[in-house]
């Protein structure tokens, strides 16, 4: 008997399954209203299996129930967008018949309780999202946020996350080339781990995860299904608490070796023409992948859980459906091609088992042999999920913080020497060199990396067989978003665009990972709504549509919500390898030109946080027209061959950016002489450390032409100095005085900060482990 011919008898309770009680419903995270919706949809009480399925699919992580209406306001269109939001990854065309698939996703909660596996499986999941579109992954990026590195617990999390990311990506053989790491006490109890993957394919290789063709077999591919990660999606949809440690078993365990085999096998399958759709069994595992593929294809499916290859005896339908065991795929093959699919998987020592089929009857049905254990009408399992628009109201506390006059903050006595302040900022872990991190990542595998981490404002991957390259970067200053979500959202996009422009790329499109607190709190939902609005403003102004992303709510620990952190992953295209530009000064005698200008702003700055312990004031203004003009002017100068280096001003302001140009390459320190007297009307600390937006430091042999280009684009620009390569110092004239910073001192502050913190004694580390014992057999 084939599955499709079975008559549709409603499922009865399965012997051994718990009875459905209000307590069980609550444990599954469903509200009373949601439960009533479920009963109405079914016209009867759900079975335990059905309750589990709905609990996963209607979790925030899978359903986007609090975010969908807001996300709909984002621009998603451009002529070159081949696939916008709604698939495993977004896809854009970049010319020469090539397309780029890219996506960012969070793995915050797993990483908070088990940093190594949490981060590793985050990388695994995002790789699968990209190669299931038919693209070969070519680069990984990571956007990380942690509490203060002075906390041993944070150092344990930081070290574990970095090792987890590295071990996974290194083994699969995808270079990890860019990202950012920031440290702030707001992330203390709830670190953020966002992983982004970029893949390359020919346009005609694009495949979508849409179940099609009645009678086509549904095949489970890759690793066997175990009991790990059950209810991971629901875990990601609640606040972290002291009890979260007990949910460590919900964290999945990764196997990058199997992932590598699955990657090769999946790409071979897609190219073979034997399949019609493929999807990762990611969050909510088999349940989510099968229900979503059916909903997209507007067909029914039936799945027999007894056919699913399992790791252990006695797994219930509930467990099999909700397991988040890693490195598994769900494939819809063409009928009659099953043997070919098995052959391809066998070549890579992987299994493929037919577990169900596409049916005409509009139902989502799960059986255990002959017994029906779950059955939902049509695609309502996905479409009936409630949508909420909670109350939004700005926190009065934040309103007051923003209104505070931070310019009135008295200077500390040490600030009489601006070099002291500069050293404080350069050694701030948020600003300091992240070499300790990226030295653990294989950055050069696949022989495509033209601009390595630490060399430029974004990573550059050349595309073999063309003269083109891709630029990529993640960005977000959560402090700005906290103080003013709308402006902060705008700046996150603008800074990412500026960064890819600094390496010579035209910004093309973004993916985003929206990390926020509990959306049922009005002040959190306000942050979310306003930040997304700000992102939308900037995406429209800069012509960079959103092609997909991920929302991560409930980033809260007992100490409160994290800063709202909408991380932007930007892709840019470089038309010629000749345009690839790095950030460090290169040639003695080059003129240093500042595009943009300082302001009297200090709000939300790293200076205030690091030197004064203050997070307050309005973040810097964001003039999106100016941002666009600055990018246009910069790219015109780069394409004209006028630019020897380009570096944007961000955290730490102009002085930090100049120091980075001088000492960013520890083996090649390059001095400079800079005169900022033009802005003597402004407070010196604003000129040096203010974080005014739309600014780029350029070194050029031909300042006159660069200034002329800037003028034509109506971008304020000024020559501020000269590269003095062998001088051994950074000399700054500001506010009527000249200070001289030895490059060695700046380099030591910038390069030694994180390694020296991470070297703190093993005794301390042991104490942390004692406080948070590791399971003996994991």
């Amino acid at each position: 008997m084939t599955a499709s011919s079975r008559s549709s008898t409603p499922p009865a309770p399965r012997p051994g399954d718990p009875a459905i009680t209000p307590a069980l419903v609550a444990e599954h995270g469903l509200t009373d209203d949601e439960y009533q919706r479920l009963v109405a949809m079914l016209g009867r009480m759900p079975t335990f299996t059905e309750l589990g399925i709905v609990s996963a699919l209607w979790s925030e992580h899978c359903s986007y129930k609090h975010s969908r209406p807001v996300l709909k306001t984002l621009p998603t269109q451009a002529p070159y967008v081949l696939q916008g939001p709604g698939e495993n990854a977004g896809v854009i065309a970049i010319g020469d018949g090539l397309a780029v698939a890219f996506k960012i996703e969070s793995h915050n909660h797993p990483s908070a309780v088990e940093p190594y596996q949490g981060a590793a499986t985050g990388v695994g999941g995002i790789l699968r999202d990209v190669f299931t579109m038919g693209a070969r992954p070519i680069a990984l990026l990571d956007s990380l946020r942690f509490g203060s590195l002075d906390s041993p617990r944070v150092r344990y999390l930081f070290g574990g996350v970095v090792k987890g990311i590295g071990d996974y990506g290194n083994c699969v053989g995808i270079p990890t080339v860019a990202g950012e790491v920031m440290f702030d006490p707001s992330y203390e109890g709830n670190p953020l781990v966002n992983a982004m993957c970029v893949g390359l394919m020919r346009e005609d290789e694009l495949i979508r995860a849409r179940a099609e063709g009645v009678g086509n077999p549904i095949i489970a591919v890759g690793a066997r299904t175990g009991r790990d990660g059950i209810h991971g999606a629901s875990f990601a949809s609640e606040d972290l608490s002291a009890a979260s440690e007990a949910k460590r078993p919900r964290v999945q365990v990764g196997d990058p070796f199997t992932e590598k085999l699955l990657l090769e096998a999946s790409l071979e399958l897609i190219r073979s023409g034997h399949i019609v759709a493929i999807q990762d069994m990611g969050a909510a595992g088999l349940t989510s992948s099968s229900a979503e593929m059916a909903a997209r294809g507007d067909v029914g499916v039936t799945i027999d859980v007894t056919k699913v290859p399992v790791r252990e005896e006695g797994m219930t339908p509930y467990e099999i459906l909700l397991s988040e065991s890693q490195e598994r795929m769900l494939v819809v093959a063409k009928r009659g091609h099953e043997a070919h699919v098995r052959d391809i998987l066998a070549k890579w020592d992987l299994t493929a088992e037919v577990i169900g089929e596409v049916i005409a009857e509009p139902v989502y049905r799960v059986t255990e042999g002959e017994r029906v254990v779950a059955e939902f009408p049509g695609s309502r399992l996905v479409t009936d999920c409630p949508v909420y628009t909670p109350e939004a109201r700005e926190s009065e506390q934040v309103h007051a913080l923003r209104a505070r006059d931070v310019l009135a903050t008295p200077e500390r006595p040490e600030e009489a020497d601006p070099v002291w302040t500069l050293v404080q900022l350069l050694s701030s872990p948020t600003i300091a060199s992240k070499r300790w991190v990226y030295r653990q990542y294989d950055t050069t595998v696949r022989t495509g990396t033209a601009v390595l981490p630490g060399e430029g404002d974004a990573a550059v991957i050349r595309l073999r067989g063309t003269d083109k390259a891709l630029a990529m970067k993640t960005d977000c200053n959560g402090r700005y978003v906290y103080l003013d979500p709308r402006v902060g959202g705008q700046i996150a996009v603008a800074e990412a665009a500026r960064n890819v422009a600094c390496v010579g790329a035209r910004p093309m499109a973004i993916t985003n990972c929206l990390n926020f607190g509990n959306p049922r709190r009005p002040e959190v939902f306000y942050q979310f709504r306003e930040a997304v609005a700000g992102m939308g403003d900037a995406c429209r102004a800069l012509g960079t549509p959103v092609t997909g992303g991920n929302v991560s709510f409930y980033n809260e620990s007992p100490s409160g919500a994290v800063y709202p952190t909408p991380v932007i992953g930007m892709i840019g295209v470089i038309d010629s390898l000749d345009h690839v530009t790095r950030s460090a000064f290169r040639h003695d005698g080059d003129a240093i030109v500042l595009l943009g200008e300082p302001t009297d702003e200090l709000g939300g700055s790293e200076y205030l946080a690091r030197v004064h312990g203050i997070v307050a004031g309005a973040p810097p203004r964001c003039d999106l027209e100016r941002e666009r003009a600055t990018i246009d002017a910069l790219l015109e100068a780069i394409r004209g061959g006028l630019v020897h280096s380009a570096h944007d001003c961000s955290e730490g302001g102009l002085a930090v950016a100049l120091a980075e140009c001088a000492v960013g390459d520890r083996e090649r320190l390059v001095g400079a002489e800079v005169d900022l007297s033009a802005w003597n009307a402004l407070p010196a600390r604003c000129v040096l450390f203010g974080e005014a937006q739309a600014r780029v430091i350029v070194s050029t042999p031909d300042p006159a032409r660069v200034l002329a280009i800037a003028e034509r684009h109506k971008v304020p620009a000024r020559r501020i100095g000269t590269v003095r390569a062998a001088s051994g110092v950074l000399r700054l004239t500001v506010g009527g005085r000249t200070v001289t910073a030895p490059l060695e001192r700046l380099a030591a502050a910038y390069h030694d900060s994180i390694p020296s913190i991470m070297r703190r004694g093993p005794a301390e580390e042991a104490a942390v482990l004692e406080q948070h014992p590791q399971p003996a057999a994991s």
């Binding site: 090792k163 053989g173 990058p256 070796f257 050069t444 595998v445 073999r464 390898l577």
Partner: protein
């Protein structure tokens, strides 16, 4: 000249090696599947980097039992050239085609960075296009690259001129500051007694074009072209 690039499950530098020898060097190359028993008439066998069999148990420990390794050993016995890069070097040591072992890096962390090497012997089939004592730059990317052997083996390697590449510092000296992973005597690459099997941890195939930051690895492949074709 024809290269055979062995593909184990988990190899991930196979395409990079192919690109280097075919697109950049202009030689021929074929991929050799690890389950095969046929070297398809290649002149040089290249074991690429990666994580063959996930490096489970120990890097290279399982890969050495792959069917193709019997043919690789026979090819080496006949005097045929074999290069093992990174994971390939680890496999050659596990297969006893080269002496010694590659242990966990001294700092216990995976290390990915550009390093400097000194060409210690420019009179091998792999290095004849380098100047003796030349300082070259190539990337490393490994967690288990600390070359280790007993003193007798080390002395023999040194005495027979079989240490081919040594890690050096910014001024070209093989001291601790130039040693990224704690390798004994700063050893980065060695050849077999007959000189036809080379193992090295750095990645010459990642240093063949200026766009990648160095082209110093190209001479290694050119050396073979000169010697093997001659």
């Amino acid at each position: 000249m024809k290269f055979g690039i062995v593909v184990f499950p988990g190899s991930n530098c196979d395409e990079d090696a192919y690109h280097a020898v075919v697109d950049v060097l202009g030689a021929e190359a074929v991929y050799l599947w690890h389950k095969a028993h046929d070297l398809e008439g290649v002149d040089v066998v290249l074991l690429p980097g990666g994580f063959a069999y996930g490096d489970y148990l120990r890097a290279g420990a399982i890969a050495r039992f792959s069917p193709i390794m019997q043919e690789v050993a026979a090819h080496a016995q006949r005097g045929g050239p074999v290069i093992g890069i990174c994971n390939g070097f680890q496999i050659l040591c596990e297969a006893k085609l080269l002496p010694g072992a590659l242990l966990r890096n001294a700092g216990l962390q995976y290390i990915s960075e550009m390093v400097r090497l000194r060409v210690e012997n420019a009179d091998t089939m792999f290095t004849n296009r380098y100047e003796p004592g030349a300082i070259v730059r190539m990337p490393i990317a490994h967690g288990e690259g600390r070359y280790t052997a007993d003193t007798e083996t080390l002395d023999r390697l040194e005495g027979e001129g079989r240490v081919v590449f040594r890690y050096v510092n910014a001024v070209g000296e093989p001291d601790a500051s130039g040693n990224p992973n704690g390798s004994m005597r700063n050893i980065a690459g060695i050849v077999s007694a007959e000189g036809n099997v080379l193992g090295l941890m750095p990645h010459p195939e990642r240093a063949v074009e200026d766009v990648l930051g160095s082209h110093d690895g190209l001479a290694l492949f050119q050396s073979m072209l000169a010697r093997v074709s001659a």
